[in-house]
Amino acid sequence: MRTAVDIAAGVRAGELSALEVLDEHLERVVLREAEIHAFNHLTEEAARAAATGLDRRVAAGEDPGPLAGVPVALKDNLCTEGVPTTCSSRILEGWIPPYTATVVERLVAAGAVPVGKTNLDEFAMGSSTENSAFGPTRNPHDVTRVPGGSSGGSAAAVAAGFAPVSLGSDTGGSIRQPAALCGVVGVKPTYGTVSRLGLVAFGSSLDQIGPFSATVADAALVLEVIGGHDPGDSTSLPGSFPSVSEHLDDGVSGLRVGIVTEMMGDGIAADVTARVRAAADALAAAGATVEEVSVRAVTYGLSAYYLVAPAEASSNLARYDGVRYGVRVEAATAGEMMEATRTAGFGDEVKRRIMLGTYALSAGYYDAFYGKALKVRTLIRRDFDAAYERFDVLLSPTSPTTAFPFGDKTADPMAMYLNDVCTIPTNLAGHPAMSVPFGVGDDGLPVGVQVLAPALGEVVMFRTAAVLEGSVR
């Protein structure tokens, strides 16, 4: 399968037709989409028109941009004007946004061709896509297993070759965990480096958009296009996104790599930790120094996250009241209408988190739960900062296991939440982290290794990822 880097270079040089590239991918969609269910909505017609337009521009001597002719799949919680955006929720079924997310505008302006909106756990709450109101996505490596989540459709779309790159959102691991389970690259950039304008909000202090791709270089290319300041997002950092691509071949000679002790023990499968140790060996062989390091406060990450994220969600999801958009269940009074609409429109996991967040924010519990959780964020940030005084990057598993069977964890929310134990701490700290495929587990399914870096440490994170990618091939 072609990489985004190759497609863009070929289309810009007039050696590849954007329309032919698109058709190659759509053929694979025709063959496997019924089985995989990566998409909630395909936009083939618009994609063909866009690709035809790009070919015409190239023929006229224009350069359509760094992603010329690259098909992209978009998580269905990114607003797209004129195209349904459901968040895989009944409550937004049929909603067509009146505006487009900044990241999508930037992709299109760079010549990318959106092919459709991908499935997710409802409102990005989950780790398997089993919480989608429209049915789960299946893992292209083994269709009896989950693709991970919440961005399972975006991960599966890349793994199945439906698109070379896709976008997801990551609140507690929703890009990295499905990337690991589907054997692709997935990046959560530093909080504030990628605009959230047009991303349907879940946990606003945690949410960050990022790419999936088959290669590290493709992820870098997409991030350079979507990243950088956006005046429309008040949490957007000033300045442009650092140039990552030009450093991909810099290597790791002299870099200090720390393996996070707390993420290598209880609850993590032995075949997964073995792959992390193999990754560390590969980095050492490439000239890095590797040691174990304790980041103690990360053990409190899960508890803090399941207070902070639901608290923010309970507030963000208050807007779904049947008044301005989406579905309405009529009733005699406005209050009854809102209750009937929300009761019918939200699935169980969303209700669970709204209630948990409402509880954590309510009088009498605020200090004990939400207030404490915010202080734990400070502890986690502090312990990471201490580790980054001695290390350039950290290494851990992305997910505690390889892809698990459908229904395995749906009855026990706590068991599902434990999937994100290694990914959550970086969201709480606002740091970047990415998952790189690094071989397979005992069951032959992909294992992802997580590379963590300090805030704005994307260059060193990508250098490390590129060495891992090169050594596993």
Binding site: T235, Y300, A331
Partner: protein, 100 residues
């Protein structure tokens, strides 16, 4: 074993969040929320009086745009997505006179 959260608590929270639960759901959610709060007991036990809370990762505050008119969303496009509208406004059932 005593539950961390009672069915009365969950019923109250559901009411605040405008969600209606069946009796079965009330029992199930009480159980599940209790499990999650049990897990959170580890941070409840931490002594954190001297630690500053961190509400967001980026220390930006009061970010303002320049005070100039810009293009708002088109009203008709926005209203087109609403379940019910009238005279250029969102339409809902009566609010006043509703029982508390």
């Amino acid at each position: 074993m005593e539950s961390r959260i009672t069915t009365d608590d969950v019923a109250k929270v559901a009411r605040l969040a405008r969600l209606r639960l069946t009796d079965d759901e009330l029992d199930r959610f009480t159980h599940q929320l209790s499990d999650i709060l049990d897990h959170a007991a580890d941070i409840e036990a931490l002594e954190l009086d001297d630690v500053e809370p961190m509400a967001r990762p980026v220390p930006l505050s009061n970010v303002l745009r320049s005070d100039e008119p810009n293009d708002p969303l088109d009203r008709d496009a926005v209203l087109a997505a609403a379940p019910s509208t009238e005279d250029g406004q969102f339409r809902v059932s009566p609010v006043l006179g509703e029982a508390p």
